[in-house]
Each structure stands twice: as structure tokens, then as C-alpha cells.
């Protein structure tokens, strides 16, 4: 016996010890509650988080992210890289090798044809695939043999892990979905409700927007898993009730997304039936500063780059607005353990996190006043600062949401202390985030001076996210008011960094670029980051193996869950 086998043996031994007498289906039933109920089990037809996560019990990608944001192979043998030859030197193709002997839950073999088909399904014309962005720039997917998949891109892709990676882009079975391409996708109700998958569980009954019943997959690749024979996945109600059912009554084992007031959660946890777990990803609650003039008199040209904002074009004002905010207090009031103050719009993963802007963590009202004084904004008779006949008065909009309205009230108070008058406005979320070009109240149109919302990005690679603030991304009439650059920020230096990142493959170099872009946005104060928001869930004290993951589905490792006896 050499050293390696000894290590293997020890590892296997410790596995046995932790998992107890692991045997498939030996631990009975696990009850999961999502207070938003899943409507469909096909993530390609719904971009909603609740659907993605429910489907992740059944459908799996080639690779997914672990709780630290590292990529782990699932259906693939290993993660292809340039070093191991899986990614071509010109960054235009990636070759995945499937694990051998993988089976669908119906017993048939998983082949590279299924992987290829998943791409065809999502990119078929007229299907309205919600995840088609994952397959951007893919020109062909080839299946040279049963276990090999080659994805070819039309451009160099320094980060080629969009297709078939993460909960958003799983592999679906060709045999089941072959007749469901394009406009026919919604007709395949049975397949959409009970897709055949490779994951640890199989759907036995799906009731849309109500409850899903699943049982262990007999053909799952690890014969000892999953430990649970059945899953009941209940949906509906509200976050409070979901938290109560896990932490207080113990009816359920796992409750998702408990965005509740910190003291409410603490009280529930005191009942002693379960514990609250939280983890941080990339979601940042932020204030966007409008650099264009939103005043209605401008008609068609309001909110476009032709008319710079009369007040907010002054960087001193933007900086003062940021300095006046007490982020610690916002966290304490709004999020508790589920939030932490941040000074970056790109707060994670670790290698992308800048430390250059941490000064914002301390509120500095006096400094903000001084800054405004120096910039020539002097307090008028009513305390509101004036310069060249322009009053420092802002319209501050956000979506209707209790925490956001608290934040608005607090920030309005701080801004009034430095002589800025604020008018508050809140808009129903379905309109605000709706993107209807006919509505004046969307967050893209941004017919206000500042607006607040939260955003993040899928996976761990910030390239597309940071490209949001390129000049061409500004929403404007020519783009039907679509686009992600809400502040209408436009800088040649920034655009150059975006272009450079698109062609850079080296991870450390990419990290430097992303940090530089983040710092540029922060130091120009066009985005005022407030809170890095985590994910909060709760699980019962008898449910073991839960590892909260913000980079992938929360249920990513449900195969490893077990009952603590």
C-alpha cells in the first residue's frame, strides 16, 4: 500500500464516519418550503430563482459552483482549462468530457447528444428561452463521440463557462424534449413539469405554484445517495410563515430566502428547533446617480446624454451624497446578519474585491458639508444649498418595499443635514423593474435624480456585469430605453478597460481589470453602494449537510443532505 492509497482509504473512512450508515433513501422524507412557489420545472422557460432552484434537484449542469465560488465538475469529468488543454489557445472552443456511465432517471444513457440538444433547445427561434444569454456567441456545439462535447464560440471567450455551467444552464434529455423546440415549448406541459434528469431526485407530482413531490432517483450516479427517499417541496405563503414552520413548529426542514427583520428572525431562532444560515454573494443594494437631466421640459430628449444633469454633473455633490450615508446603521436596521456595509459595486469573489474605497464605511457629515462649501454650494434661507440659482433638490425613487422605504427615509434625513432636499417616490416593483418602454416609471428610464435597487450577477465572472457601465449600454430612445447603464456613465477610459477584459484570459490580469473598473465607478461616485446583501435561509437542527451557496442553487448539494439522528 503506497501513500496515495492510504490517503484515499483515510478519506473514504472519514466519509463513512460523517455520513453515518449512508444508504439511498434510508432517511425518509425531507420537507422544503419556498414561500414563492415554483411555477414550472424547466429553468429554460422561466428565469425565476424559485424555478431554477426547484429544478436543480432534478436537472444538473456539466459543472457548477461550490459555496466558495469555485467550479466543480458535475456531469463532466473535469473542468476544462487552457492549461489542461480543454480550452483552445485562441479561446474559441472548449471541450468537455462527460463522466462515464451516467444515466438519466429513466435508465437511458446520457450522451453528448443530450448536451448538444440542450443548446439547440435554448437557442431555438420563438422559444423565448430565459437563459439564452448563457449561450451567447456559441456558433456550434459538436458531439464527436458519446462522451465528448465541443463548444465553439464565434469570438475569443476568456471565460468560456457560460454554456452548461451553473443552475441556469442544465442538461435536458433530448428524447423527452425533441418535439418541444421553439414555439412548441409551452405545449410540452408534462415534460416541463416533470423533466427527466440526472440529479438526485425525480418528480412524482408537480402542482404548479403549490407543491412538488419528489423521490430518490434510482439511477443516481452515487449508489449511496441521496439519503432521503422523498422530498416535499411546498410553496406559497410569506417569508415569516416559512421561517416559523422551520424554526418554531418544526414542520419543515428547510426554508429559503428569509428576508425578515433581524429581530423577528432572532426571536424565531430562540425557539431552538433550527438555525438561520447566511452567506454572501454579489448582490449589492446601491443608489444610482443620474448624470443626465430628467426634467420633463426636455420632452423626447429627457434623460439622454445630450443634456447633462444640472446638479449631479458636479462630482463634489455626488461624493457628498455618498459621504453623508451611515451604511452601518442601514445594515443594522434593514438586514442584520444578512447584510454588511460595502463600498464596492463588485463586492465578491475575493480576488475581485477592491479595498481602495473603504473610506466610505464611516459616515462623514462634516466632511460632506465642507466639500459642498468648497464647491460653491451655499446654504439658502431654508437650509437647502444653492449655486448659480440651482437648488440642491433631488427626486429619489425606488421600488415599493418596506426596507427600501426605511432606507429612503433615513437617507433623506442625512442628506437634509448636509443641505440637500430630497423628494421620495416609490413605484410598484412590477412596473419599476418591468422595462415597459411605454411607462415613465421604469428604472431604465430613470426619470428621477437618484434611484435605489439591488443587482448582482450569475456565477463568479464579472465581465458582463462590469460591461454594464459602458457608454453604449445607456438606456435611450434609440434602444427603446433598454440597457444596464442607469447612470448613463460614459468614459473612454472605462470602455477601454471593458474591451481589454473581453480579450484577456489570465485570471489575475482579469481581476486587476475588474478592480480598476470598480474603483473608477466608485471614485467617480456615479454609483453609491450601500449594502452587500447576503442570502438568509434556515434549516432544522435535524437536517445535516446543508451548505448555503450563493453562487449556484441553494439546493446544489441536496444529494448530500441527511437526517441527524
Amino acid at each position: 500500500m503506497n501513500f496515495k492509497t492510504a490517503l484515499l482509504g483515510a478519506a473514504a473512512g472519514s466519509l463513512m464516519a460523517t455520513a453515518g450508515l449512508a444508504e439511498r433513501g434510508s432517511d425518509g422524507q425531507v420537507n422544503i418550503i419556498y414561500w414563492q412557489a415554483p411555477s414550472i420545472m424547466n429553468p429554460y422557460l422561466s428565469g425565476g430563482t424559485k424555478e431554477l432552484e426547484a429544478a436543480s434537484l432534478v436537472l444538473e449542469p456539466l459543472a457548477r459552483y461550490d459555496e466558495k465560488g469555485n467550479m466543480v465538475p458535475y456531469l463532466a469529468e473535469s473542468v476544462p482549462t487552457v492549461e489542461n488543454g480543454g480550452v483552445s489557445a485562441d479561446l474559441q472552443s472548449i471541450t468537455w468530457k462527460l463522466k462515464e456511465g451516467l444515466k438519466w432517471s429513466d435508465g437511458s444513457a446520457l450522451t453528448s447528444e443530450d448536451v448538444k440538444f440542450s443548446w439547440e433547445y435554448c437557442t431555438a427561434e420563438g422559444g423565448g428561452c430565459a437563459q439564452s444569454e448563457k449561450y451567447n456567441d456559441v456558433v456550434a456545439v459538436e458531439a464527436p463521440d458519446e462522451l465528448t462535447v465541443v463548444v465553439k464560440f464565434g469570438v475569443a471567450k476568456p471565460f468560456p463557462y457560460g454554456p452548461f455551467v451553473g443552475a441556469q444552464a442544465p442538461i435536458i434529455q433530448k428524447a423527452q424534449f425533441a418535439d418541444c423546440l421553439g414555439p412548441k415549448a409551452p405545449e410540452c406541459t408534462e415534460a416541463n413539469f416533470a423533466p427527466i434528469g440526472t440529479g438526485p431526485f425525480v418528480v412524482t407530482e408537480f402542482r404548479p405554484n403549490d407543491v412538488i413531490q419528489l423521490e430518490a432517483n434510482d439511477n443516481y450516479r452515487d449508489p449511496a445517495k441521496p439519503a432521503f427517499a422523498n422530498v416535499v417541496f411546498k410553496g406559497g405563503g410569506d417569508a415569516t410563515a416559512a421561517g416559523r414552520s422551520v424554526l418554531e413548529t418544526g414542520e419543515f426542514d428547510y426554508a429559503w430566502n428569509l428576508q425578515l427583520a433581524p429581530d423577528v428572525l432572532a426571536n424565531m431562532q430562540a425557539a431552538g428547533k433550527g438555525k438561520v444560515v447566511s452567506s454572501f454573494g454579489t448582490l449589492v443594494e446601491r443608489i444610482m446617480v443620474n448624470l443626465t437631466d430628467p426634467s420633463a421640459e426636455l420632452g423626447e430628449e429627457r434623460g439622454t446624454a445630450k443634456h447633462p444633469h444640472p446638479i449631479l454633473s458636479d462630482k463634489a455633490v455626488r461624493q457628498a451624497l455618498s459621504m453623508a450615508v451611515d451604511r452601518e446603521l442601514l445594515v443594522e436596521i434593514g438586514y442584520g446578519d444578512a447584510g454588511r456595509p460595502t463600498c464596492n459595486v463588485l463586492p465578491a469573489p475575493e480576488i475581485y474585491k477592491s479595498t481602495a474605497n473603504d473610506g466610505c464605511l464611516v459616515q462623514d457629515i462634516e466632511g460632506a458639508k465642507k466639500l459642498l462649501d468648497e464647491a460653491g454650494w451655499v446654504p439658502g434661507p431654508d437650509g437647502v444649498r444653492v449655486k448659480d440659482g440651482k437648488r440642491l433638490s433631488l427626486l429619489y425613487q425606488t421600488s415599493t418595499n418596506a426596507v427600501r422605504q426605511d432606507f429612503q427615509a433615513l437617507i433623506k434625513q442625512w442628506w437634509s443635514e448636509i443641505g440637500v432636499e430630497t423628494e421620495l417616490k416609490n413605484i410598484d416593483a412590477s412596473v419599476f423593474f418591468g422595462g415597459d418602454p411605454g411607462s415613465p416609471d421604469t428604472f431604465q428610464k430613470f426619470f428621477a435624480d437618484v434611484e435605489m435597487y439591488a443587482n448582482n450577477f450569475d456565477g463568479t465572472d464579472p465581465e458582463a456585469y462590469m460591461a454594464n457601465w459602458a457608454c453604449k449600454q445607456a438606456p435611450r430612445p434609440e434602444t427603446q430605453w433598454q440597457g444596464n447603464n442607469m447612470p448613463r456613465y460614459c468614459s473612454d477610459a472605462y470602455d477601454a478597460l471593458v474591451a481589454e477584459m473581453a480579450t484577456t484570459g489570465d485570471i489575475n490580469k482579469r481581476a486587476e481589470l475588474a478592480k480598476a473598473m470598480n474603483d473608477m465607478l466608485m471614485q467617480d461616485y456615479v454609483i453609491i453602494p450601500l449594502v452587500d446583501r447576503g442570502r438568509v435561509s434556515a434549516h432544522s437542527n435535524t437536517l445535516g449537510g446543508v451548505v448555503l451557496n450563493t453562487w449556484d442553487s441553494e439546493l446544489w448539494n441536496a444529494a448530500d443532505w441527511y437526517r441527524i439522528k
Binding site: S39, R207, N209, D210, G236, T249, E251, S430, V431
Partner: protein
């Protein structure tokens, strides 16, 4: 009577068509977007494609006529096929929900049992409690029973169900642990044990709703009884030497029931509407919860179909109330 009913039924058709148009236009003009709830990580171009695949690119009159055809022709044919095993409706496009991409009719059929069990049961129970309370309260006006009845009605009427519901959960589910706080919609009654479980999980939602329904109906019953008790025919009946039992339960009760029956009949459609709040509180995922989630998700075909079904039921039960009037009161005949 028959021709009256027939005439009313025929008149209902243009009324319903008009209602359906109004509902359609209201929903269409209301702001909102079915892709609004999707995460911001999904880019706007993809959202535009999704909207297109939902048929939002078509002009409004085409969408209305298409929905009308699907609702009035395809859905009834499918329901007929499902019951009799025929296939008249094969290949016809049904009303499809935007959230689930599955036929709206199937989901409604799946939700109906929960709602009928919980909300329907509470209505029956509420009515059964309310009628005797109303009668006794009126007969012994200002007695302690009447005062108590008034108090309970006021509580049932004025305390919202989202408060009583949560209160019951905190007391009976969290502290005492007697009843489950979350309703299991997949539970099937097969034997006594499973029946007992069904009863246990229905106790809290049914009592919350029954209290509310009973409060309303018992007040109507009491008022109507009081109106009649003072009438001349009551004195006549007593003068003829009839027993109090006959006077109250035959003469007065029958006459007092006329307005109450209308109230009860007009309340029946609201059962099908589900109890949005109570269903949400107890996670009885019935029609009410279906409607509210569809509204949140801007699932227009679902909202439209549900509200239109409610409209049909309201028109229908108005007619039933009118016919019942005629049966209860011989003076009112419509011929």
C-alpha cells in the same frame, strides 16, 4: 317562471361578453410586465424575446378574440373530453398560463378541491351557526344571548382574517402544537387516521373563515327576523292560538328568510373566488392564492380566466337568488 329564467339566461350572454371585454381591456391597459419578476441578471433582449413568445406582439383585438375562442370553445371541449373520454378538442389551443406554460383550466381544476373544502366548508358551517344565532338573538332581543351574539359578530366582522389567522397559528400551532400551520394540499383521505389529519389541518382555516361568514349572515338574519316579528300577521297567528314554535319557526322564519337567502346565494360565488388572505396565511393553495400569485406575476391569461369565471358565477347566482325568491314567496312570480 321557465320563460323568465330562459330570458334571463339569454340576456346574460351579452352581459358576460361585455364584462369579458372590460376585464381584458383593464388588464391590458394596467401597467405591468410578465418578465418584471425575473432577476435583473437576465438581459432586456432576452426579456423581449420572452414577451414575444408569450404572444404579446400581436395587436390587442386579435389577442382578445383568441382568448375568447380559447375560453368559450377550446376549454369547454377539453372539459367535455376529460369527462367523457372523447377527443373533440384535440389539437385546439387552450388558454395557457404565462407562469407555468400549462393550460389554465387544468390548474383551476386542480385547485378547486382545496378551495371548495376549506372555503366552502367554512361557508356552510358559518351559515349553519349564523341562522340559529340570528333567530334567537331576534326573538330574545337585548337578552344576554343577543348581547353576546352581537359582540361575537362585531369581532368576526371587524377583526381581519390575517390577524385571527396568525393569532390562531401562534396559539394552536406554535405554542400548543395541536394543528399544523401549513396545509398539505396533497393529502388524500383513505382511512380514519388520514381523515382525522384532514380535519386537524382544516380546523384553523375553516374556523377563521366561518367566524367571518357567520358574523355577516347572523346580523342579516337577526335584522330580518326583527322586521317580521312586529308584523300584524304574527299577532294574528298568535291570536289564532298557534304555539310559539309554529309562529316563530314557520310563519316568521319563512318570511324572514327571503332577504337572507339572497345574501347567502350572492355569497356563494365568493367561495369560488377563494379566500385570498386566509388561503395565503394557512398555505391552502387554492383559487385565491392562484389569483393573487397570478396578479403578482402579471400572468394575464390566468387572471383574466379566473376573474371571468367569477363574473359568470356572480351572474348565475344572481339569477338563482331571483328564482329562489319566487319559490319562497308565492306573491313574487315572474310570469
Amino acid at each position: 317562471m321557465f320563460t323568465f329564467t330562459l330570458r334571463r339566461l339569454l340576456l346574460a350572454i351579452p352581459t358576460l361578453l361585455f364584462i369579458s371585454l372590460i376585464i381584458f381591456l383593464l388588464l391590458d391597459f394596467a401597467p405591468g410586465d410578465p418578465t418584471a419578476q425575473l432577476p435583473l441578471t437576465i438581459p432586456p433582449e432576452v426579456k423581449a424575446k420572452i414577451r414575444e413568445s408569450l404572444g404579446l406582439g400581436e395587436p390587442i383585438y386579435i389577442r382578445y378574440l383568441l382568448w375568447l375562442k380559447q375560453f368559450a370553445v377550446a376549454e369547454p371541449l377539453h372539459a367535455f373530453d376529460a369527462i367523457f373520454g372523447t377527443d373533440f378538442g384535440a389539437g385546439m389551443q387552450r388558454v395557457v398560463s404565462w407562469q407555468t406554460r400549462s393550460p389554465v383550466g387544468d390548474i383551476i381544476a386542480q385547485r378547486m378541491p382545496q378551495t371548495l373544502w376549506v372555503v366552502g366548508m367554512s361557508y356552510v358551517l358559518g351559515t349553519l351557526i349564523a341562522l340559529p344565532i340570528g333567530v334567537i338573538s331576534a326573538y330574545r332581543q337585548y337578552s344576554w344571548f343577543d348581547q353576546l351574539g352581537t359582540f361575537v359578530s362585531m369581532v368576526g366582522y371587524s377583526v381581519p382574517t390575517f390577524f385571527t389567522g396568525v393569532l390562531l397559528i401562534v396559539i394552536f400551532a406554535v405554542n400548543l402544537g395541536w394543528f399544523p400551520s401549513i396545509y398539505d394540499t396533497t393529502h388524500v383521505v383513505t382511512d380514519w387516521d388520514s381523515f382525522a389529519f384532514q380535519v386537524r389541518q382544516m380546523v384553523m382555516p375553516v374556523s377563521v373563515l366561518a367566524l367571518y361568514n357567520a358574523a355577516q349572515i347572523s346580523r342579516f338574519m337577526r335584522a330580518s327576523m326583527l322586521d317580521n316579528l312586529g308584523q300584524d300577521y304574527v299577532r294574528t297567528a298568535r291570536a289564532k292560538g298557534m304555539s310559539e314554535k309554529v309562529v316563530v319557526l314557520v310563519h316568521v322564519l319563512r318570511n324572514s328568510m327571503i332577504p337572507v337567502v339572497t345574501v347567502i346565494a350572492l355569497g356563494v360565488p365568493t367561495i369560488f373566488g377563494g379566500a385570498i388572505i386566509t388561503e395565503q396565511v394557512f398555505k391552502v393553495n387554492g383559487l385565491g392564492q392562484l389569483l393573487i400569485t397570478a396578479i403578482y406575476a402579471n400572468d394575464i391569461p390566468m387572471v383574466q380566466t379566473l376573474t371571468f369565471i367569477f363574473a359568470i358565477l356572480i351572474v348565475l347566482f344572481n339569477l338563482i337568488a331571483d328564482v329562489l325568491y319566487g319559490i319562497l314567496d308565492p306573491r313574487i312570480r315572474y310570469d
